[in-house]
């Protein structure tokens, strides 16, 4: 039964619970609104980076096999009184016509007004890449790559494995993996099960510190949280690097004469030799540092700006606005 919808107002969001920062999403449901699978999802690489027609077909076949099985499995779901987007007053600037991708803005606005918003909510639906494994776009729940030394490697996952369950959520697609990880805790571990050939295997993935952190700069609902370093200038020359005992490729630039207010409040001055944030040696130039900060930090966070001034190393706290 194929249904095409373009409005989110009539939908019970306890059933249609997915990453709303999307241009395309498929929900596979039983007639009594149990969720077999979610297909869809994107990342900073673009709206089509994680989906393909072959991948959609693969997921459809996987869902049909699940539907026909003796004991079909379903994703966990909130029950109780239905929840509609119309139950929340939209924030200023949004009228009654609410796009799917604006649903989050409405929900977050309510949470903010109720004092329930926190920065962790910016990092919803983290991709499995954050734990060291990448799913194949065309074979939606098959592992394409595993990072060496990652939590996925430690759990025993290998390329070619077909993930079946992640954090107690059946996985047919990247969308399911993102939903599973959205429910995972900040720390601790989650279980993962997979088929390797016809052998069923399982393991535990330990969640590292800040594992949910992902580039949010592409998310329309979170544009207000995209951070900027507000420090910028000319990269050091090779000779200047040598004089200051710096490597040829590490981040090092002279803060230019105009210092934005965010940096000025932190005490940064023109001519400061900026080395980065939080004592990390970053292999990049000043421009890429802008992109790096966008992908790693959100507004409201305080960082330590590492710099050299008149031969002295300083670490100045700065709040990202």
């Amino acid at each position: 039964m194929r249904v095409r919808l373009a409005a989110i107002e009539p939908l019970n969001l306890k059933v249609f619970d997915f990453d709303y920062d999307l241009t395309f999403q498929v929900m596979f449901l039983s007639p009594d609104e149990k969720v077999y699978s979610r297909y869809g999802g994107r990342c900073e690489q673009g709206p089509d980076a994680r989906q393909s027609l072959a991948g959609l077909r693969f997921t459809m076949e996987s869902v049909l096999a699940e539907h026909r099985s003796r004991s079909p499995r379903f994703a966990p779901r909130e029950t109780g009184k239905p929840f509609f987007i119309a139950d929340i007053a939209p924030p200023r600037g949004l009228g009654r016509c609410i796009h799917c991708h604006q649903a989050k803005e409405v929900i977050y606005d309510r949470m903010d007004r109720e004092g329930k918003w926190n920065l962790d909510m910016a990092f919803r639906y983290p991709p499995p890449d954050n734990l060291g494994f990448v799913l194949d776009v065309d074979r939606s729940n098959v592992v394409k790559d595993v990072d060496r030394g990652s939590p996925a490697t430690d759990a025993g996952v290998q390329p070619g494995d077909q993930i079946t369950v992640l954090n107690c959520v059946p996985v047919h697609s990247f969308g399911d993996a993102g939903f599973a990880l959205d429910r995972a805790p900040k720390r601790g571990s989650i279980t993962v099960s997979w088929f390797r050939g016809d052998r069923e295997m399982s393991g535990k993935i330990t969640l590292p510190d800040r594992w949910r952190r992902t580039d949010i700069s592409w998310r329309p609902s979170l544009q207000g949280l995209v951070a900027s370093p507000r420090v910028f200038g000319e990269d050091l020359t090779a000779q200047e690097r040598e004089e200051h005992g710096l490597t040829a490729t590490q981040l090092a630039f002279w803060q230019k004469s105009k210092v934005p207010s965010q940096a000025a409040k932190a005490g940064i001055r023109p001519g400061d030799l900026i080395l980065g944030f939080d004592n990390q040696t970053l292999e990049m130039d000043a421009y890429r540092f802008l992109l790096y900060v966008r992908s790693k930090y959100v507004t409201g966070e305080t960082v330590k700006v590492n710099l050299i001034r008149n031969g002295r190393r300083l670490n100045l706290p700065m709040t990202l606005e």
Binding site: M1, R2, V3, R4, A7, Q25, F28, M60, H99
Partner: protein
Amino acid sequence: MLKLLVASCVVITILSMPPRPAFAQRQSNPAQDRDSIANGWRFDYAAAREEAVRVKKPMMVVMRCVP
């Protein structure tokens, strides 16, 4: 005077139109909608769900935001 009358009629007509739900995202191509329906797509979730219950088939619900 006539221009003022015409302009007033236009304004009154626009103001009296009822607010429409979020069909702004819907394809504005009726021919394409007809093709979709002919190919078995439904656009009414509640009706589709009733039919899914009757025929005992799962639903594939596609949501797209047309940019």
